[in-house]
Symmetry: C2
Subunit: 385 residues, 2 copies
Amino acid sequence: MNNFRYHAYTDIRFGKGQVNCLPELVAPHGKKVLMVYGGGSIRKNGLYDKVKELLADFEVFELGGVEPNPKITSVREGAAICKKEKIDVVLAVGGGSTIDAAKVMAAAAYYEGEPWDLVVDSSKIGKVLPIVTILTLAATGSEMNKNAVISNMETNEKLGTSSHYFKPQASICDPEYLYSLPAMQTAAGTADIMSHIFEQYFQKDSGAFISDRFAESLLQACIKYCPIALKEPDNYEARANLMWASTQALNSLISCGKGGAWTCHPIEHELSAYYDITHGVGLAIVTPRWMRYILKDETVEKFAEYGRNVWSITEEDAYKCANMAIDATEQFFKDCGIPMTLREIGIDESKIDIMAEDTIKYNAMDKAYVALDKEDVANILRACL
Amino acid sequence: MNNFRYHAYTDIRFGKGQVNCLPELVAPHGKKVLMVYGGGSIRKNGLYDKVKELLADFEVFELGGVEPNPKITSVREGAAICKKEKIDVVLAVGGGSTIDAAKVMAAAAYYEGEPWDLVVDSSKIGKVLPIVTILTLAATGSEMNKNAVISNMETNEKLGTSSHYFKPQASICDPEYLYSLPAMQTAAGTADIMSHIFEQYFQKDSGAFISDRFAESLLQACIKYCPIALKEPDNYEARANLMWASTQALNSLISCGKGGAWTCHPIEHELSAYYDITHGVGLAIVTPRWMRYILKDETVEKFAEYGRNVWSITEEDAYKCANMAIDATEQFFKDCGIPMTLREIGIDESKIDIMAEDTIKYNAMDKAYVALDKEDVANILRACL
């Protein structure tokens, strides 16, 4: 087992009605709150009004309209408000896009230069305003982790950045907020969760038995509960398990003792950077093709283990078991209603080479589970067409 | 899934050589350190000298000799030093006993009355000095949780107390410190870890799927790695997984969304209170008898699930599967070298009734997975003879 640090200090308040803890969670950080949110969904479901009511004794500034694949333009706006109004605490109400944007705003509040610098070079992130979140989507795990992903559409860049201080001080996770999600967001969110798990699970064996079993537990939860949530959007148990899976999948718990760089996320980030597609859909399309591409003698036992422990496949031949597991993964995404080819979402082969080049340029693909070069990435993307 | 709060904020530094982080972890809290430890083992393995060397720039006071089943007398001593020397931070170097004693010292430092009050009534715990730990035993999970168990041999009481502020600020977990443990401590520590998991796992179903799968993952780790650690005391992978299992088994992770009071720990606490036996040994003896005692139509499916998911038992009949799982549990403890009857550890039936009475008196046994009264507890204890 590799050495590791585990310090997931976010104070999680999980369950029905936990939004009522909001004043208690915000108060230690100050009175001036920047409330960051996305589109109109929190106005429709009453959450916007509830937050304003609960924060009646605070001075609340607002930045709405943060978009999916959040843009650096939104970050700049938020940072300007933080500086001008001397904000004490940033409250993100939304999914991963809103939370990620809020994180970089909170860092940019203390940064004199251009906020995009903090995305390109995380070493420039210093002090960060305290962050509190109210989660409305089960997907990115941003509610309990140090990551943020920001897009710059002028330069076709979608890059991840991170800081220990990006971890929210507190997050309110009420599964009931997921009831009104469009089916595609439930499905794509689940694909995102599963991809986070795959990225950490499929790595060279380091004897981190517990992390691997935890990873399989979370995958089983996704596979069990996503179809239920799609059929019965207000099934509390399904929504609760998906929401908790999203948090646990990417708060560093299942990478404890493990190592290695990611693969599908870097590739998908290029798809989003060039085509602004839904992140989870891109991941679902890339994942099974990547799995098939890297299946070989060095990886087959791990894929067979995945098949046995997650999909309860009893086939003893390792290659057969591995292939059945990969097929099951692809079929699962398809059954959840996710378009499973790039052409279905309007992407052709014209930019494959430049996307492959950028994937290699911005990421340590040589440190991935199976090292990939530009040609490999292009081959995987072609298999996705 | 029940509502829950999850806030396990301890900064864990896990792995070989992590003790070198000690100055960095202690420094934010001040210069005056009370170093608390147990018997001579940390002098033998060089850890004592290493800590003193690393803390050369700090003012270090010492309290050694904290005993297994730590006594209130030790807590009083430590609290007196904290007050007299105006200690800034308590450093516990040892296993659960040392850490638990350190926690109550850290609270008693701010308490004007008799420290035992804080054990009997946790609501009297107010401010607590920051706590840092260096863990040398995989068992109690005290390195990342809010619990402390203290014994008062004058009154034959062994009671648990807890506070959110008992959670250590940081814990150094180096599996290599476990290499020199006597075999019985490895085995008894594993029985303690497994009992923590059972107490949380065997509860009424609340749809907390992830917590149950995580619990099974940790049980599998114990079952896989304890025999390896007993055969090869310096097998790093085995020690590392056992150490991480101990931390994750009782930092509230696997009780997220679940509820209900504990059973075997309350019963064992009476055995230790009257006979000062090794906690994990008492738990190993009680556990399978408790499982058999409560096996009935309302619980059989859960025990069968345990058999299938933890022991890979394929028997379809639920009662048969459940009984095979319980037998496997008992056999496992036996194979680890733990004496599996009370008589073997010098306990006869003379105090069974008073121990049963005290179990009921001090614990909410009516809120356990299966509610037990005094007669039930006495029956379970008699089955252990």
